[in-house]
């Protein structure tokens, strides 16, 4: 299928661009780390409190990091005016978005996986027992963040004050992701873990809704 | 009727906000109408 092959090619380009410099990944990991440490200083949690608040704080840090990490997504294309070439290269403009959002999801996931051991140590929360469910939540949540973030970064790239605008647009929009992911994560990491399937289903619905919206309206986001 | 003043406060503030909003619209509208008249006068060629 033309869409899939276009997407695959563009995805390769996105990944190669990032791994050449790895600046996005390293800065994002460090940023989340710093935010988590700062939370500890601000709240000085006890062991019990760490367990209760830790996952929520982790998701908050992920959201902040993502809203910064998503900035270059379309800005990168603007500096060399590569966007028009991209649009000419593909039949379906959705391929551009699909490639970017898959790349962004992968970057986010990679960052989170790198963060997990550190998070586990700093907040004294064992993560191994529920690892696969935790990864599922991270996947669905990161997917949601990437889908909305990729769409919104296409918008903010065309406006002024884009560094401030993207978080401003993105964070309220992602409230459902934050609330649900944090709740499900907290429940997974409790002393007696419970898998909240309703929450996980909700994340999937969020992802589906915004993926569909992006598919329907993506081409207008790229208009010259 | 102990909380009556809270109820009145809510209605007063709420309607105050709506009234203020309407007032700003009405003022800007009348300013613009004046501006349109002024500009129309500057363009005598039957526009």
């Amino acid at each position: 299928m033309s869409l899939l092959s276009n997407t695959a090619t563009l995805l390769g380009k996105e990944l190669r661009t990032e791994f050449r410099s790895r600046e996005l990944l390293t800065t994002t990991v460090v940023f989340i780390l710093v935010v988590l440490i700062l939370f500890s200083f601000a709240i000085s949690p006890t062991a019990e409190e760490s367990r209760e608040f830790g996952p929520g704080l982790l998701w908050l840090a992920i959201l902040f990091a993502a809203s910064l990490m998503l900035q270059p997504c379309f800005l990168r294309e603007q500096s060399n005016d590569t966007l028009s070439s991209l649009r000419l290269a593909v039949d379906d403009p959705f391929a551009i978005f699909l490639a970017k959002l898959v790349a962004n999801t992968l970057f986010l996931l990679l960052t989170e996986i790198l963060m997990l051991p550190l998070f586990s140590v700093f907040y004294n929360i064992p993560i191994l027992p529920q690892l696969r469910y935790l990864l599922l939540v991270l996947l669905l949540g990161s997917l949601g963040i990437s889908i909305a973030g990729t769409a919104l970064s296409a918008i903010s790239a065309q406006a002024r004050m884009r560094e401030l605008l993207l978080p401003l647009l993105l964070l309220p929009l992602l409230t459902p992701i934050l609330v649900v992911s944090a709740t499900v994560s907290v429940s997974l990491l409790e002393r007696e873990p419970v898998v909240l399937w309703k929450g996980i289903g909700f994340l999937a619905i969020f992802d589906l809704v915004f993926l569909t919206a992006l598919w329907l309206f993506g081409e207008y986001l790229l208009e010259e | 009727m102990k909380n009556l003043d809270s109820v009145f406060a809510a209605y007063l503030i709420g309607w105050g906000v709506f009234f203020l909003f309407y007032l700003t619209i009405a003022k800007r509208t009348s300013d613009l109408r004046t501006e349109i008249e002024r500009l129309r006068a500057l363009l005598p060629r039957g526009k």
Partner: protein, 224 residues
């Protein structure tokens, strides 16, 4: 012109009538007493605000489809009116809460969701100030408006689910607490009144936008 005056007069009459009904026709609530009468105004404004945002959503869709500036004018008008109504909801909520609970805010599900809604449309209006070119501004804000409105049920759903996991005081007499039939009638009458009033405000704001456009055209002609 006459139609506008009639609309305005009808709106004002309905609103006065609904206020009268809220105080003299609706029976007093057993537990909370007179403070509960805020309910009609508070929830009435909330529903009218949502209707305004629905109008905005439809206007956004129509703009993306048709690219006629009148839809952009309708979009910004209904978004502003919706925001004003939502602001009143957020102000009257704490005024209700404080005498009853002794606190101004409890992150109650509906009030919290309303706050996120407020943030979303503040972002919508802010985005508009950051894009200078008219057509681009209309397109970008319409697209964000569409994403924002699609997010609304997800926000309300997510926060309500979150609240079932972590219950807290419900400020506005819970969803299920059946309304006495007279209260119901007064409530729906108030919703009608607030909607007509919102419609009147949208019309007035729309005309302002239209005049702005006319001034722009005349100014350009005058400079020519």
């Amino acid at each position: 012109m006459a139609k506008r005056i009639i609309l305005g007069a009808v709106a004002v009459l309905l609103v006065i009538a609904s206020a009268y009904a809220s105080f003299y026709i609706a029976p007093e609530e057993r537990t909370m007493g007179v403070i509960q009468r805020i309910f009609y105004f508070h929830v009435g404004s909330a529903w009218a605000g949502m209707d305004a945002f629905l109008v905005c959503f439809i206007a956004n869709l129509l703009y993306v489809w048709r690219r006629q500036e009148k839809y952009d004018w309708l979009g910004v008008s209904s978004a502003e009116v919706g925001l004003v109504l939502t602001t009143v909801v957020l102000i009257t909520g704490p005024i209700w809460a404080h005498p009853v609970w002794g606190i101004w805010w409890t992150w109650d599900a509906r009030l919290t969701s309303t706050f996120v809604l407020w943030l979303l449309y503040v972002s919508y209006l802010l985005l508009r100030t950051l894009v200078e070119e008219q057509d681009r501004r209309a397109l970008l804000s319409s697209l964000f408006g569409i994403f924002a409105f699609l997010d609304v049920p997800l926000v309300f759903g997510a926060i309500r689910w979150w609240r079932t996991q972590h219950p807290s005081p419900v400020i506005m007499g819970g969803q299920g607490s059946g309304l006495d039939p007279t209260m119901k009638k007064v409530f729906f009458f108030t919703v009608l009144a607030m909607n007509v009033f919102a419609g009147f405000l949208i019309v007035e704001r729309y005309i302002l936008e239209k005049l702005k456009h006319e001034v722009d055209i005349l100014q350009r002609e005058a400079e020519a």
